[in-house]
Symmetry: C2
Subunit: 431 residues, 2 copies
């Protein structure tokens, strides 16, 4: 791969390393080779040069929880209680989805995420070979899992078989851009012995686990009724925490739950907008962070959010907790950006330094237009990114040094084709 | 003014009137003359035709509370307790603002609002002749007031004099695009007799009043300590509610407060993002609406928000109350859009039908790109507008039939000039 010199107007290397002056980044083999303020002084021979003097470079955003192809169900049901939403809208529509639909739904998700500055995401869904193909074609980084449920022996067996074949086929694919995890849906859809079986498979295949935990108050109450303990304690007792685990939501967790999660370094995906929209509540993020947990940020699926814009989650994480705790210092701007980058990256098991633009980190970079109204004036670049700017300011996106969005134009995706195919699928879903 | 035929791909006439097929709007003399699905069948002689077959028309958003030129203080202080934010950051910087600075700060605000689909806003600030000139040059609709405080006799007198001259000079300016109100800041900055004087001036000048009321718990506690009653009751007892009043925030209001506001048809500006960011709390919007109050939506100033994007407020209003009330049916999509359009319009004293695209309503129109990812698929246009789309999807804006944004390009504002002037002011503020 050629060496690329990217020249920008300013640089946020990480939430705690701000370079508010013209800077450079040298990318080679998908990695940041050199970075700093001013002009690059090294040898430029054979380098591609991309000049964006009016853009700010930030680490690409990492979406730590979602169901990509659920873009196809966007707006199919809103403002409804969870169970009627699932039973009357989501499940009947999902029954109509095909491998091909999941491919195009995932491409639609990639389009939306690239355009809004996200470089990496997690996914838990089905027909995952097709989802992985869609991600691979888009050139994004992703941590993918085939969702598993345990309603009966047939689906249990299918979950194990599908996950095994999926991990075998895709883990490390596309120069490591795609990695895999196991995706048991939740303790309320997977019986205890099935969760134990998943933990064992995770050890055998040497991949982590992602699962929904303690999303709603009802889930926690039912867990106490059925198992005499919280979903977190139950997940641990089934053997899950012996493996690396990413737990999505954790809205209703007790101090004991938090302590247990800390003991086993369970990572959390905080999805503030989905939690509000589905009326689940507000996760105790300040408490979890104070306990030392790694808390990343996610959008959840577009059926429950209803978009995949990480800037919205970032801003909501930085404002919501202030408002409900009556504390203007809760989740400051730097913490919110760290959650959406470094902490999200750690939460989805990416290597150290991922989610930063330090030397040696993956060259996953988002550029934002410093000449947008949101960056005027410029008292504080970090504040402008977190509290004022947004998807409309994203101009360029690089993943592993590859240019996926250039001056707002998609480089790897065919927007017209996605519009056509999704329109076709929409007709089938509405029939 | 020429007659214009606007052809669009779909139309939201109001939150309860959705036309999900190609439609037309005829605009003349700043007003919607004809509107409906299909092709316009009337006489087209001499009409300008603007064709946007891939855009959705919605009523322009109405921002019911803010301080436009505070864009100049964006990011100057965040994540701080309210009083140190005001005393250590806001007041020292505001002391440096000149008439010229307010002109350019207001132009920056207009740029930001037009680009994000807002056609009308309220403002309470100072050097308002210059603010009004900036708005007038931008071609926006606005309800403006010169902020009044009563710390001493000099500023009290100045508030009265400035307001009187401002109302006289600008009320009804630019074919009625600019109207005025009085703007006493709050009961904690205006002593009782001053509020009474303002109420009398409001009756004399025949303009309404806008004021901050019950924004924080501390404000309410202090009001009880000082006056033995809530800020709402106190405002009433000073004679304010004998006049039309728009009350901003109303985060901490009791049932008795709400009943009193209902009795006098006091309108409310709900600013959910500002209330979260400043740690004020969550206003009881569902309760206020159930009591029959008109509750509009606002951004507040960019120093406390930190942008002027009404789509963010719209989405937050539609999700926040669900989450904190654990009720997925609280503030449905249609209600949120109604709050940001019709209800905001009524709250700022605009005529009936403003905030809709019905025949006879002002031709204040926002167009959104139906080919953006956020509108795929299209199960529910209203849901896509409220929960998925955003400022990045706004393509065109009309105010009173005048094209202010065309295919994302500003038509009345000089972006380069604003960047230059705001940059110059930024240097002065930082000195």
């Amino acid at each position: 791969m050629t060496k690329t010199l990217l020249k920008v107007g300013a640089l946020i290397q990480s939430a705690s390393e701000i370079i508010p002056v013209p800077s450079y980044i040298v990318m080679e083999n998908g990695v940041v080779q050199a970075v700093g303020p001013g002009e690059y002084q090294g040898d430029r021979t054979g380098m591609d040069v991309i000049s964006r003097p009016h853009s700010l470079a930030i680490p690409g955003l990492v979406n730590s929880h979602g169901h990509a192809a659920m873009t196809l169900l966007r707006g199919a049901g809103d403002d409804m209680p969870l169970m009627s939403w699932l039973n009357d809208r989501v499940y009947p529509l999902e029954a109509k989805l095909t491998e091909e639909a999941v491919y195009w739904g995932t491409q639609l998700a990639c389009w939306e995420m690239i355009q809004s500055g996200t470089t990496c995401f997690t996914d838990m869904y089905f027909f995952m070979h097709d989802a992985a193909r869609a991600v691979s074609d888009a050139g994004m980084r992703a941590i993918l899992s085939w969702g598993m449920v345990g309603f009966n022996d047939t689906v249990k067996e299918a979950g194990i078989t599908n996950s095994r074949s999926f991990v075998g086929a895709w883990n490390g694919h596309n120069n490591g851009l795609i990695t895999t995890t196991l995706g048991p849906h939740a303790p309320y859809t997977c019986p205890p012995e099935y969760l134990t079986q998943v933990a064992e498979l995770s050890a055998e295949l040497q991949v982590p686990i992602q699962i929904h935990l303690s999303e709603t108050q009802v889930e926690v109450e039912n867990s106490f009724k059925e198992f005499g303990k919280s979903p977190i304690q139950h997940a641990h007792d089934c053997g899950l925490f012996a493996r690396p685990v990413l737990a999505a939501h954790c809205v209703h967790v007790s101090d004991a739950d938090i302590a247990l999660m800390k003991q086993f370094d369970v990572r959390v995906a905080h999805n503030p907008q989905s939690n509000l929209k589905l009326a689940s509540g507000v996760a105790p993020v300040v408490k979890m962070r104070q306990a030392g947990l790694t808390v990343g940020l996610g959008t959840d699926g577009a059926a429950s959010n209803n978009n995949l814009d990480m800037f919205e989650e970032l801003r909501l994480a930085a404002t919501l907790h202030k408002g409900v705790l009556f504390d203007p210092t809760a989740i400051p701007a730097a913490t919110a950006l760290q959650m959406a980058t470094e902490d999200s990256a750690r939460s989805v098991f990416l290597p150290q330094n991922h989610g930063t633009l330090r030397v040696g980190a993956a060259a996953d970079i988002t550029l934002m237009n410093l000449e947008s109204s949101h960056f005027q004036p410029s008292f504080d670049l970090l504040s402008n990114v977190v509290y004022a700017a947004g998807a409309d300011d994203v101009t360029d996106v690089f993943v592993a040094g590859k240019h996926l969005l250039s001056n707002r134009e998609l480089q790897t995706l065919d927007k017209e084709r996605i519009l056509y195919e999704v329109g076709r699928i929409e007709t089938i879903l509405k029939a």
